[in-house]
Each structure stands twice: as C-alpha cells, then as structure tokens.
C-alpha cells in the first residue's frame, strides 16, 4: 500500500543522500562571543573587500615594499590613531601587553586580512579573563578584538559624539555559575554609562527591567545570570558626564524601531 501524499512530499523535498556535519565547529561557536551589530559586519566585509581589491591591483614587489613601509609606519605610531580618537584607554604607546597572542592573531589574519594587528592596544578584560583590544583597519575602521582562547573581532566606524558607544558582542560564560551571559561594548571618553532594555534572544521578550551599566576605561560590560540567552533591545542610550545623552540608532537585531 502506497501513501500518495508521502510520495508527493518525498519528491517535493528529496532526502539528503549524505550529510556531513561539523560538531566541533558547533561547540567552538557556542563558546565564542557573537557579533550583534549588522552594520558593523557590513563594515567588516568592506574591509576584506578593500584588501582583495588592493591585492589584485598591486604587483608583488610593490606590495612587499609597501608592507615594509607600513611596518615602519606602524612602529612609529604611538598615540593619536584616528580610529582610536576618543578612546583614552587606547591612547598609549604600544607595549608588550598590547601585542595580540599568536593564536588570536592567526585567526584574525585568516578571517580579516585588512586588519592592522600592529596597531593593537589592550584596553581591558572580560569577566572570564579574555583580553579586549582595539585595532584599526585599512579604512580607519575601529575593530574590537577578543581573545584568547576564543578569537573574535568586530569592526565598525570609529566612535564620535554622534556615535559614542557600541554593542560589540555577547557570549555565554561557562566557568562561572553566577554569570550566564555577558554583553559588552565600547564607549567614548566622557560617556559614564549606557542604558538599555535586556531582552531574551530570538524575540523572547524583556529579560528584567531596563539597566544602566557603568563605563570603565571605555568599556561597559553587562552580566546576566538569566537562563535564556540575553540580548540588548535596541536602540540603547549613552550617558555623558555632563548629563547629556545620545541614543545610538537601532541596527537591526532585536531592534524595537525596525
């Protein structure tokens, strides 16, 4: 006895004859911070495209010469990089503490060729001990790098008075029973706190009341012990020391206005 409906459905979406998954990639990704701002992902793609374009246009010898020149120029850079304007925590000569570890650097080179690792400045740490750096890109992007062990990068426009804060990433914490989720971002000099409505990921509704998170050394870090994954409902607000506020426009994910 045949079931015509089952047969029709079977033809409609044929079975996959073979399926080869990657479980380790799932485990790795599950413990890695995730970017949350689509606009910044676009910027990251722009960075990669720019590098590829340059690579096609320039003969190898010229590229080698330029790399040498850039290395010298990078060594001379201490303070005042445009992308770091308004980030006091990054305004210092590069020291050994600013050098990104080899594993994280290798990941970044593989995934984001336009990033300028020689500009890295260490600006703080996440609750689980991972380092946070700011790095520039070839188009003056401001990139935030986290690692080790879970290398992560997010790039976007430099901070300014009209764009005084970012939501950089969120990730699950596995080594501290009192913290389940961490969301963090950068803030311009003069910004003392950011406020937002925590929300459950995937549109699950508010995860507690609106919160105000202090900024220390250009970093804000929000910790949650909510069982479900927590996100920031955008837009969110940056509060300056002089009492003024700037609402960072919503960028897509968990966006209340779009």
């Amino acid at each position: 006895v045949t079931d015509p409906i089952a047969e029709a459905l079977d033809e409609f979406v044929p079975a996959f004859q073979s399926a080869e998954g990657d479980w380790q990639a799932i485990v790795n990704a599950a413990t890695m911070p995730t970017a949350v701002v689509p606009a910044d992902r676009q910027s990251r793609h722009r960075l990669v495209r720019a590098w590829h374009t340059q690579r096609r246009r320039r003969p190898l010898l010229v590229a080698v010469a330029l790399l040498g020149f850039m290395a010298l120029a990078a060594a001379a850079i201490a303070v005042g990089l445009g992308a770091f304007n308004g980030i006091g925590a990054a305004q210092h000569p590069q020291t050994s503490a600013d050098v990104i570890d080899p594993a994280t650097a290798a990941y970044l080179k593989d995934h984001l060729a336009g990033i300028r690792l020689d500009t890295a400045r260490h600006i703080g740490q996440l609750p689980d001990g991972q380092n946070i750096y700011v790095v520039t890109g070839t188009q003056n992007d401001l990139c935030t790098v986290v690692g080790p062990p879970n290398a992560f990068v997010q790039c976007g426009d430099p901070l300014s008075n009209s764009h005084p804060a970012t939501i950089t990433g969120d990730y699950a914490v596995n080594n501290d029973p009192s913290i389940r989720w961490v969301i963090f971002g950068l803030a311009l000099d003069g910004v003392t706190s950011v406020s937002f409505q925590p929300t459950q990921a995937d549109g699950g509704g508010p995860a507690g009341p609106e919160v105000t998170v202090p900024v220390n050394d250009n970093l804000w870090i929000y910790k949650s012990n909510d069982a479900s994954e927590v996100d920031v409902l955008q837009p969110f607000t940056a509060h300056f020391a002089d009492g003024t506020t700037v609402v960072e426009p919503a960028t897509g994910k968990d966006c209340a206005a779009c």
């Binding site: 459905l9 409609f12 979406v13 399926a19 998954g21 990657d22 479980w23 990639a25 995937d202």
Partner: protein, 164 residues
C-alpha cells in the same frame, strides 16, 4: 555542570544520528536546500549555548527541533507564502499538470502549523509527542492538524489526478 555536559552529549548524539532529517526539514521550511546545513548548524550552536534553558518537561529532541524550526523560519526566503525548494517552480507559474507545482500550491494554502506538522512528520518521522514539544502544542492537536493537512493535500492531488 555535569548535567549540562551530559545534555550536550545527548545533543551531539541527536545531531550525528539525525543530520539528514534535520537538513531536510530546514530545507522544507526555509525553501533552500543550500541554506539548510547552515541553518541547522546555527540552530545547534544556539541549543548548546542555551542548554540550561531546557527544563526537561518534554523530550530533548523536541526542544532541539523547536530551535531548528525557529531558525529555519527566520531564514525563510522572502517574499513567498510558502517556502518552496529552490529548484522547484513557484506554484503560480507552474505549467498545468505539474504535480510539484500543485503540491506547492496546496501547501501554500495550509496554515503554517499544518505545514510544520507535515514536514516534521514526513521528513523527520517524528512521533506526536516530539512534534508537540517542537511546536509547543498538545499531542491531540498534532493528530488533528495532521489529519486536516492530509485531507487538504489529498483533495489537491485528487483534483490533479482527475484532470485529463
């Protein structure tokens, strides 16, 4: 911590043993065979990250399927009333007598819940309890929904069979 690790191992087992079905359901819901592996991958990343939110009220597999369904729904191609496999013609432009086109048209007239119940039942061979957990409905509702959906599809196919 140990309970969480144990559940992650269970998730891994389900992932390894059910991957072809997971891809197939994701393809049916999203309308893209090409996107299905990435959607399933994303769903399992979320599952591992959110394992503590699984309360154990129903089968773990049903909870996993719920995440897969939600991710695949979010990854659905727009604008279509029902996600169609990318290699198939859209119902409205299908030539007369194209059974796949007529099936697509019939599916598009079903409610989303009816389509999801059909996909989970026929593409993943899930039992009613697991489908109920995946779609957050009762087992009785699964049976009734499946009966209604089958009747609608049977009618569409009979119409096709009656056409010379």
């Amino acid at each position: 911590m140990d309970a969480g690790a144990g559940r992650v191992r269970e998730i891994e087992q389900i992932y390894r043993s059910r991957l072809p079905e997971l891809w197939r359901v994701a393809a049916a819901i999203s309308g893209s065979r090409e996107a299905a592996p990435d959607l399933v991958q994303e769903a399992f990343v979320r599952a591992v990250r959110q394992i503590d939110s699984f309360r154990g009220d129903g089968p773990l597999e049903g909870w996993l399927w719920r995440i897969v369904v939600n991710v695949a729904r979010n990854g659905r191609r727009e604008p279509v009333m029902v996600a169609l496999p990318e290699q198939l013609p859209v119902a409205a432009t299908s030539p007369a007598g194209d059974s796949q086109g007529e099936l697509a048209a019939a599916l598009s007239r079903l409610s989303e819940r009816q389509r999801l119940v059909l996909f989970l039942r026929y593409y993943a061979d899930l039992d009613y309890a697991t489908i109920a957990e995946a779609l957050s409905i009762s087992g009785g509702t699964v049976g009734a929904t499946l009966t209604t959906a089958r009747a609608a599809l049977a009618q569409a196919l009979e119409v096709k069979e009656a056409t010379p």
